[in-house]
Symmetry: C2
Subunit: 668 residues, 2 copies
Amino acid sequence: MNDSLRFIAPALGAFGLFCAFLIYRRIRALPSGTGEIEDIAEQIHNGAMVFMKREFKLLAMFGSVVIVVLWFKDPYESLAFTLGALSSAVAGFIGMYTATKANSRTTVAAYEKGPQEALRTAFFGGTIMGLTVASMGLLGVGGLFVFFGNTAGDIHIIHGFAMGASLVAIFFRVGGGIFTKAADVGADLVGKVESGIPEDDPRNPGVIADNVGDNVGDVAGMGSDLFESYCNAQIATMAIAATMTASSWQAIAISPASLMFLPLGLASVGLLCSLSGMLVVRLFAHKEPARALRMGTLSASILFIAAAYLVMLFLGVSNSVWLCVLCGSAGGVIIGLATEYYTGGRPMREIAKSSQTGVATVMISGLAAGLQSVVIPLLTIAGILLLTSELAGLYGVGIAAVGMLATIGITMSIDAYGPVADNAGGIAEMAGLGKKTRDITDSLDEVGNTTAAIGKGFAIGAAALAGLAIIAAYVNVVRSHHDDFMLQLSDPAVLTGVFIGGLLPFLVSSITMNAVGLAAGEMIEEIRRQFREIPGLLDGNAKPDSARCVDIATEAALKRMFLPAAIAVLSPVVVGFGFGPSTLGGMLVGALLGCVLLALMMANSGGAWDNAKKFIEKGNYGGKNSDAHHACVVGDTVGDPLKDTSGPSMNILINVMAIVSLVIAPLL
Amino acid sequence: MNDSLRFIAPALGAFGLFCAFLIYRRIRALPSGTGEIEDIAEQIHNGAMVFMKREFKLLAMFGSVVIVVLWFKDPYESLAFTLGALSSAVAGFIGMYTATKANSRTTVAAYEKGPQEALRTAFFGGTIMGLTVASMGLLGVGGLFVFFGNTAGDIHIIHGFAMGASLVAIFFRVGGGIFTKAADVGADLVGKVESGIPEDDPRNPGVIADNVGDNVGDVAGMGSDLFESYCNAQIATMAIAATMTASSWQAIAISPASLMFLPLGLASVGLLCSLSGMLVVRLFAHKEPARALRMGTLSASILFIAAAYLVMLFLGVSNSVWLCVLCGSAGGVIIGLATEYYTGGRPMREIAKSSQTGVATVMISGLAAGLQSVVIPLLTIAGILLLTSELAGLYGVGIAAVGMLATIGITMSIDAYGPVADNAGGIAEMAGLGKKTRDITDSLDEVGNTTAAIGKGFAIGAAALAGLAIIAAYVNVVRSHHDDFMLQLSDPAVLTGVFIGGLLPFLVSSITMNAVGLAAGEMIEEIRRQFREIPGLLDGNAKPDSARCVDIATEAALKRMFLPAAIAVLSPVVVGFGFGPSTLGGMLVGALLGCVLLALMMANSGGAWDNAKKFIEKGNYGGKNSDAHHACVVGDTVGDPLKDTSGPSMNILINVMAIVSLVIAPLL
């Protein structure tokens, strides 16, 4: 392998950031509206920035401790950790900054120019996040690889980067998840239910916080989630390559260096394919939105699979490794489709039907749908695991994860598009731009909801595979220090770990679920207070104190994100040093299983309840305000923290635990 | 070890059955009431028998296939299977037969003699089931041990017995669970909600079916569940002993024969301790019911721990094995207390409090409580596993399970007492015996609810340990055929199994949950039809066709219990022969983890909702018919299938899968 190849990844990363900057300039140049629109957009933007700043402060404190501790293990690894944390934080910041700029511009585009231009604005607002995530990953991982990718002994330094990314992710995901649902539930319960004013009404003091929440949770939270899966998958695969025996690597490549570089190579061409996909969306923007987005993702994926073949040919890697990429991509599609089926197909309609017999049956059928929805994704993951390990050992599993995530540039763009479109609708409503504009933003938003559901399934699948790869790397690293290391399931120490690992996702879910309830309670009190104490607010003669609501949601979220993050970081340390590497290995597997199962169940139950409500709102079973509708509204409210707070936290919980274990592995 | 010792277990089994017969004669001689009481009791009794007969038919069909297939493996094992299935079925039949005789006699005792006599009648009605379960186990396992316990090579024949017991258990548990909740939900929804008549009103055609369901689900279902855990724990421990290496057994006993016999020895003295405990309850029956029952269980446990010490001294087994018994007993108590806390302590009161903000918050806080409730039990199981395996290897884990279950005679009695007391209350209401009688039966029932919740936690813990022991035996058996057999977690084949195993509990839960919904729907239609078509029914001038409702619930339950049973039996066969013993081993561990987690979560969420409703009915947060109460009623309805159908099925699912794997292990 030519040594100058190493520079490709960081160079492409820089190029990707440049593209993101160009897009940002174009978005920035679009009319952002005046008067009311500008004012509302400004409030959302400022709210998001307030949250970000305070979150960064907390992160800095928590992170400093880790930096110091890591310094004693290896100063370089500590620096890599800092870099990883900064990269993730910067990517989140840029994504959110631009998303809160794109929202009002989408509103204006819908109002002044119509659906095509609105779609383009919303989508390209999202692409900045997509490109930033992919590019920061390439820049960071690729940059470290230039320095530390030469020798297998140095590769562990890059693990620090993964750990930094994971730590930021758990803060963003959990904090953002609590913020967004506390604001959502609070604003809805007092506004819609108690005071009888419509959704997104400007008189409601919680509405701005609700819109901030979309950005905080769905843009920054989802972005940091995918960023860490993306980086971790690459880093874990490198780690596996670094600890492979000669006979293993000889079976699939001409040199171990090729195998080390391959994840970066795939991610690099993945970025180019994502850019092409974005072009396709732009070209198809005059078609219906759903189709344009689907064409974009699809063409990026197909292009990537073809390009991956060439990359392997060029690097002298066996075809069987390319088949692993194929498995990863196909698996991602299957899990996405399964998610779509459970949240939008027959199970969702069964829930809607069961609403005729009341809330209890809505709850039972929703839980049953969620429980059942784990079957196909788990079988898919098991199938990928079996096939890829047959094709290329545990390295193949890592490559499947890398393949699934390589086109993150476009998948993340589409995920970020959702909240931009949602915000645009909110701004249109608050500014009173009329039904025509609202219809356009609604249609964009609807597409966003479907893509969000699929994106969630995809994120879970990717996190599971990345987690698997890190666990495999962990086992290899421990074994490289203890020749006789075995992770036998019949060993009581391992089984003990499996049980401990299994309970952690349940514990963290219950903590985050209760956190939303408590935070929402604080929001409710504040909104009630404002309605009571600000004269003329309900008549529209006074402005609500929206900033105070943002403040309360921020405070509540930050206070309650600490415990889950601490559990994720500390449990591997305690178990690893307290009980040894076997128990820790068992714990990772138990936690992986528990996290994937709960993540799927919660995401799909929640998604199905949400869509069942929307299905009824379209006029089925009595339509809006019928008894059936009321029953489904309860389902939707219950599903909110499940699908947007507790469920998504699971992805990161397992990855944080796995990466911390990988980092401490040499010390055990 | 003296060879004549072997005869002790079956002899004690026969003695226990004789005691049960004596108690039955005394119960039978009590006044059973006349007129209305007799008539209602007769209807419940006949309904239960109708269900039993039809369930036996289905079982016979399914069982015959297994008998034939097993015959080809080993005719003796096939016979043992038949014996195990028959023992479990007979125990269930006797228990239910007598429970449906004791219920009306409890009502009469409450009416004519007061609370003391009522408690005695209900409790001793339950002891027949308790004694029968323990005695049939000793008779069956002990009898087979006389013939096949001599040589390690023959011990596998006894596995057939365990498989028979497990197969019956899954039919009884799932079928009974669907029946009881379909009847309960159906009767409540049409009676209480639609027609506004009180619970247990004789005009409601579903009330008899509801009372039948208590016996079918809580007596026969719970009995077969504990019977199989009881037998499986002993059999698995024998299997571990049979495959121990010389150095392993030498560390803890003077001969391997002692270790083989020890489980039976412990179960034998356990029966005697249970009998003593029953005497204690009888002596304390003039105190408050809860205290009498607690004194009985406690004294039986303490006596057993002391007796176990003597047994080991006598058999020449090390003290460290006795400590394993101590771990098992202590673990059972801890899990029981944790269950009591989550279903009756602060988390339950938090749910009640959250009912002030509506159904959605009741649902969220209930789910959060259930999720969190897994933590202590899982840590306890992990702790038992770690300690006992340190003390005596995997044999220690098996002995902990045996120790936890040895006093099943009294724990099962108390479990069976609950539905008898519940039925007695139903009969009192239907026969219109007035408030005084109802108050007595209500107080007995309340105690029954607490014991039922603790019993559920205990059953889960016991099933988990028994499952662990069987899995350990499975690994040993496979290893005795393939020297190089390893169950390495880093082996993709094993990990694939873990994923497949993890999804099965979720799949089976969703199937059983939906089954309750569908079956309840059929009940609702029939009850509505009767109210509509039978003239004068609602005015009390005509009798409902209760038998028809029993019939419908029976039909619905039998139809839908087949699929879960088939999944439990066939999945190990398919995975074992299709993917090999490593994947099957991984699957068992994944399924064990998933089953224990879901079982705990569902039992405790359901129990907490149930008790939160009762807490409000006592006058808190507005009391009966307040908005808070309505919200909690929904929680209770959602919790019903979770805690009484899907949750309990988990215990058996894992044990069936494990025992089938153990039986097919030599063929893999």
